[in-house]
Amino acid sequence: MEPIVMVFAWTMVVIVLAFIACLFEDLESDEGSQSNPNSQVQLAPEMGYIHRYYNKAISGEGLSYALACTIAGTVAWAMLSTGITPLIAIPFGAGIGSLVHMIRATIPHLGRESAHKRFEQPIYLDVFFGHLVPIATHNFMAVVCITAIAYIQSPSGPLAAITGLPVAANNPFPLPLLCFIWGITVGAIGSSTGDIHYGTERLFQDRPFGEGRRVVYHGQICRYADCGIRTSKDVVAFCAKYGGPATGLTFGLIVLFENWRTLIGMMAGGLTGGSWSPGVAAGVGIVIGLIIAVALTVGNLYLVKWARKKFGPFVGE
């Protein structure tokens, strides 16, 4: 098969993995209530709202996922260097990363809930044990996809094995560093986009729809599910319908357009024939990127205009 076709095929695999990784990253942060909306879960007992949410504020999602992915990448890289097949090394590395994440998920929950004893918030053991495995499994899905992406793009991966091109198609960074880079990025995106659906909508579902959550509502979270008392597992089922996929889409689109514009630039620079010109390859990639940036800005202009027309000025007190 033509080398360029193989490059595009592996890029497509990377994009699909990116979508799945960020989707599960966001759902994992909802499952354990991590990152920004957790400030409300943290505040709730102080406002007299005793709850059954999981309270896992390890750190920001970016740092947390950078650590989990880097551990996974380092273990996988060490195993790969001894000749073990990637089909075993990548899931094994991701498993170790998820186990460490599960340990880090345990301690903050117990510590924070114990600190809330003065507000009469109990530690529900069924909530504690019932959430640990879903946290680890969601985390595993995200980390295994990120490690696989890093492996495909690394100098020891399949992109580097494609011959017949004037320049290598892989990234020069080693596997653990790529895991760190994508771990930080996936966490930053999950924190920036997915949190909105959880924090604005799901945590305050008993408040009026269509308005920003006023400061006076803070801490007064919704504690009742469709049936019975709400736990963080009910949050995942809700956010999996919009917040999670939208977050996955964000990372998928970023990886898609970053790789696509670089590859198109490389083709313009002579990747598939003629003399190789790195200046043209880089320049065309930059111009395509700028065109996409303008299109995004226009898209936002249209979206804001549409929302203003559709929803109108704020009505109410």
Binding site: V167, F173, T185, S192, T200, V215, F257, A282, L296, F314
Partner: protein, 243 residues
């Protein structure tokens, strides 16, 4: 090593660090309140967002730098690639965040700090929920964020390509050093902002940018001196060891 090269490394670390700080100040960062639509901006911290976008830019910049196999990479083109990569990351993130605000929570993106959008001239006050500091990414914040992403990504990629080209660091070592200098400046800028900021139209921006850039200059100078000393005393440091 040639003193001119050492000066070049130092200057690029300083310029890259200052641009990183400027980029963070330009981003619309709403932090935790933005996750509840209580403040305008992206629902995460300054450092997290800027680092996420800059490393995405660095990923593309490193790939572009490897186009020049047997000669020095073109610094301007590699740095621009990094800038555009970071800009696209932040652009997609802000756009989809706005989609979540509009379709997931039924909220109109508005600024809480200005009554009229300085770019589109759209009024903001009557669309804002009372007792909030705005919500979503209005157009002025979006454009400010795009510029911030570009500037920050450009700075990070500039440090990377200089270290790889002229200090002869391996790509991995150059990447780690660039991320290190970048994060130091991003954290300093986050302390300077102290909470939330909407972009260049925010009164906070004009108030604090001077101090922020000066602090970035001092920290980047120290980081640059450290890199120069390391390059001069341990010439094999940059080879990257096992990486």
């Amino acid at each position: 090593m040639d003193p001119i090269i050492l000066v070049l490394i130092l200057v690029s670390a300083i310029i890259g660090g200052i641009l990183a700080s400027l980029g963070v100040h330009l981003l619309p960062v709403g932090g935790a309140p933005a996750a509840m639509a209580t403040a305008t901006g992206v629902a995460t911290g300054c450092v997290m967002l800027m680092t996420g976008s800059a490393v995405t830019g660095l990923f593309t910049a490193s790939a572009v730098a490897s186009f020049w196999e047997f000669e020095h990479a073109n610094i301007a083109l590699v740095a621009l690639s990094g800038g555009v990569g970071a800009m696209l990351m932040i652009g997609w993130t802000m756009l989809i965040a706005n989609l979540l605000y509009v379709f997931g929570a039924g909220i109109v993106p508005v600024s809480g700090r200005v009554a009229v959008d300085p770019i589109t001239k759209e009024s903001q006050t009557e669309y804002k929920t009372p007792r909030t500091d705005g919500h979503g990414m209005p157009n002025v914040s979006y454009i400010s964020g795009m510029i911030g992403g570009f500037v920050g990504g450009f700075g990070g990629a500039l440090i990377y390509v200089t270290l790889e080209n002229y200090a002869h660091f391996s790509p991995a070592t150059a990447g780690i050093v660039a991320i290190g200098i970048f994060i130091a400046n991003a954290i300093l800028a986050a302390y300077n902002i102290g909470g939330t900021i909407e972009g260049f139209h925010d009164p906070k921006f004009k108030e604090r940018i001077g101090v922020g850039l000066f602090a970035a200059f001092v920290v980047s100078l120290l980081c640059g001196i450290l890199v120069v000393v390391a390059v001069e005393i341990f010439p094999s440091l940059g080879l990257g060891g096992a990486l």
